[in-house]
């Protein structure tokens, strides 16, 4: 009985007030009042901000400067806090000595295909579960949503056996297909579709729009921000996915970047940090750039379960 209870709680958006207008009023209220705090609080705020910024930035800075150091300069005490001389040797090394471009290509293929499939499946499942009427809709929704409560670790053993039996180890489909089911995205998009004004959908129906035209021309254009948020978190999660691709791939044929990084670490690791840090930086950069450009939508998507049921 536990699963439905939890689903129920997530379903009820903890902070979302009943109506949109009220929500806006709430925001205004807090904006106008909660910012007037004493000077002590302001000082504490700046101190907190500085400390937090240092804790996040210093390790990243350290990793980046190391990736530009010569090998000998990494293994000195006390450490150098600026690469002198700076060299791109490590980047050259990591991209030529290991099949870095293969890992990168695999990451692009796996992330691209899995995300596309998940976004399409999430949208069409959510559409059926919110705007079509059919018997057993509630039960189907429960089946989808309860999958969120099943941890990966309990499914990997049996899934590994199944995929190995199919001869799909070291193939893209072996990595992609078992990851392609969508529970959270369905939940997110369904709530979005249910929040659309019923009159508009009814009007489009009366105008003779078929179900697919309704989805494509009316429902999706109105759901754009949520769809973008859902797509972004899917891309981030697939790009960072580790355990399953790690179990499915033995070498650079299909292994994505994170798996490639730990394979590189196996070879070099503690004894040759330079190329390892260069590889790590290269793996972090694409997703950080994506984050910097689209952070608003990304934060919305990643925190969606909590704030907007």
């Amino acid at each position: 009985m536990s699963a439905p209870a939890i689903v129920g709680t997530i379903d009820e958006p903890p902070t979302a007030p009943p109506s949109r207008r009220e929500r806006r009023a709430d925001q205004n209220r807090s904006e106008s009042s909660s910012h007037n705090r004493g000077p002590l609080m302001t000082t504490a705020g700046y101190v907190g901000m500085t400390v937090a910024l240092l804790i996040v930035a210093v390790p990243l800075f350290w990793i980046i400067i190391t990736s530009f150091k010569e090998r000998g300069d990494i293994y000195v005490r006390p450490a150098q806090w600026w690469p002198n001389p700076a060299t791109t040797e490590n980047y050259h090394d990591v991209t030529t000595r290991i099949p870095f471009s293969n890992y990168f290509r695999n990451s692009l293929i796996i992330t691209g295909v899995t995300s596309t499939v998940k976004i399409v499946l999430g949208v069409i499942s959510a559409y059926a579960l919110s705007l079509l009427r059919f018997p057993g809709r509630g039960i189907v929704f429960l089946v989808v949503i309860a999958a969120l409560m099943v941890p990966n670790q309990i499914t990997v053993i049996s899934n590994y056996a199944l995929v190995a039996q199919l001869g799909w180890r070291n193939t893209y489909q072996g990595i992609i297909i078992p990851l392609a089911g969508v529970a959270f995205g369905t939940f997110l998009m369904r709530n979005q579709f249910l929040s659309l004004p019923g009159e508009i959908i009814e009007a489009a129906r009366l105008d003779g729009a078929g179900p697919l035209k309704l989805l494509w021309k009316v429902v999706l254009p109105m759901s754009w921000p949520t769809l973008v948020a859902f797509s972004l978190i899917t891309v981030v999660n697939e790009w960072n996915e580790y355990l399953w691709p790690f179990l499915m791939s033995d070498d650079e044929r299909v292994a994505p970047l994170p798996v490639g990084l730990t394979q590189l670490q196996n070879n070099d690791g503690v004894t040759n940090w330079g190329p390892v840090m260069a590889g790590t930086v290269l793996a972090m950069v694409p997703i950080l750039v994506l984050f910097l450009v689209l952070q608003r939508q990304m934060i919305k998507g990643l925190t969606a379960g909590a704030l907007k049921g």
């Binding site: 939890i6 059926a128 994170p258």
Partner: protein
């Protein structure tokens, strides 16, 4: 603890039957649309327009839902059930032969020496990561819930590590904690403190993994708490202030109750993701040092199944972990229910 899942799987399977066999669909039509009162049943060959529209809607819904449902049933619910079966066998993940061993895996797990270490590692890691990331996240959110210059920049910076791959962060932080040439030892040395051996000493290795995980995930609790604070009802706080309540009282009696749903949501999602962490531990320590210094239950599932080739025993560990998680989650729901009824 398992009936809800079994029930869902059952209903899922039944439902996909309904969708695939068109003949069953009309049987159920009465339940939903209902026949026109007193009217004759629609002729078999030529259903009225309305009912054929309905049937078309059902077919469409079936078509749209089938791929996702099949994927979830085959790759989530089937292995969940199969894992229970495997936990009663001695299967070695590759051999075609498999034999039934009853409860012996469970007995082994409960009596083996390393179980205590693994459970303790899991509990320490989970309690520390959940407790610290939630309280630090709340503290930061409280400090940043005011008009400050550069606040948005700092908010993004704190959240950024959350989107980076755990494997990349694990590898990077293995170097940050390098006891001979890392960042931490350098800072400690400048303060005149000798660095602990994060690589060789189990307790320090667990500390290193825990700190790394918190560094990556703090932004999640922080951003969610901050959004909750900005959506709260400030008038309550003002009223309490006018009534002369101290700031501690306002925090405990006015703010925390309003944040309760957020705290509840975070306690479950943060707990579930921190119990399941694999990439950071694999990248940083491979479960070591000294055998199982940082091995958690999830890591033990991997270790036993894929390294020691004991899939049956691995499945047992996975089952135990799953049941414990269910119990803990139910307990959390109960506690929060009680609290909100007060």
């Amino acid at each position: 603890m398992t009936p809800p899942y079994r029930k869902h799987v059952g209903s899922g399977a039944r439902l996909s039957n309904v969708q695939s066999t068109q003949t069953q669909v009309p049987d159920r039509s009465d339940e939903v649309t209902g026949p026109p009162a007193g009217g004759p049943p629609p002729p078999v060959g030529e259903p009225p327009h309305r009912s054929s529209g309905r049937r078309w809607e059902w077919t469409l819904a079936g078509l749209l839902l089938a791929p996702n449902l099949v994927l979830l049933i085959v790759f989530t619910y089937r292995p969940l059930i199969d894992n229970f079966r495997l936990s009663f066998t001695d299967w070695n993940i590759s051999s075609p032969t498999i034999s039934w061993v009853g409860f012996s895996n469970y007995i082994e797990w409960f009596t083996r020496d390393d179980t205590k270490t693994v459970v303790l590692n899991t509990v320490i890691f989970t309690v520390a990561t959940v407790g610290i990331s939630m309280s630090l996240g709340l503290l930061l959110a409280l400090l940043l819930d005011q008009r400050l210059k550069g606040r948005n920049l700092v908010r993004s910076a704190i959240f950024a590590p959350f989107v980076i791959s755990g494997a990349a962060i694990g590898i990077a932080f293995q170097f940050v904690f390098d006891p001979s040439f890392g960042l931490v030892q350098d800072v400690l040395a400048r303060l005149g403190i000798a660095s602990p051996d994060f690589y060789q000493q189990s307790n320090w290795a667990l500390f290193m993994v825990t700190v790394t995980y918190i560094w990556k995930n703090l932004g999640y609790s922080f951003v969610i708490y901050l959004a909750a604070l900005q959506g709260r009802r400030a008038d309550l706080d003002e009223a309490a202030e006018i009534d002369g309540a101290s700031s501690w009282t306002r925090f405990r009696r006015v703010l925390m109750p309003q944040l309760r749903p957020t705290t509840f949501f975070l306690s479950i999602t943060v707990l579930l993701s921190s119990v399941q962490v694999f990439d950071i531990i694999y990248a940083m320590t491979r479960g070591g040092p000294v055998g199982n210094g940082t091995t958690t239950l999830v890591f033990q599932v991997y270790q036993e199944t894929f390294v020691n080739q004991r899939a049956g025993y691995g499945a047992t560990v996975a089952t135990v972990m799953f049941l414990v998680l269910l119990v803990v989650t139910v307990f959390q729901v109960r506690v929060m229910d009680k609290g909100s009824r007060k």
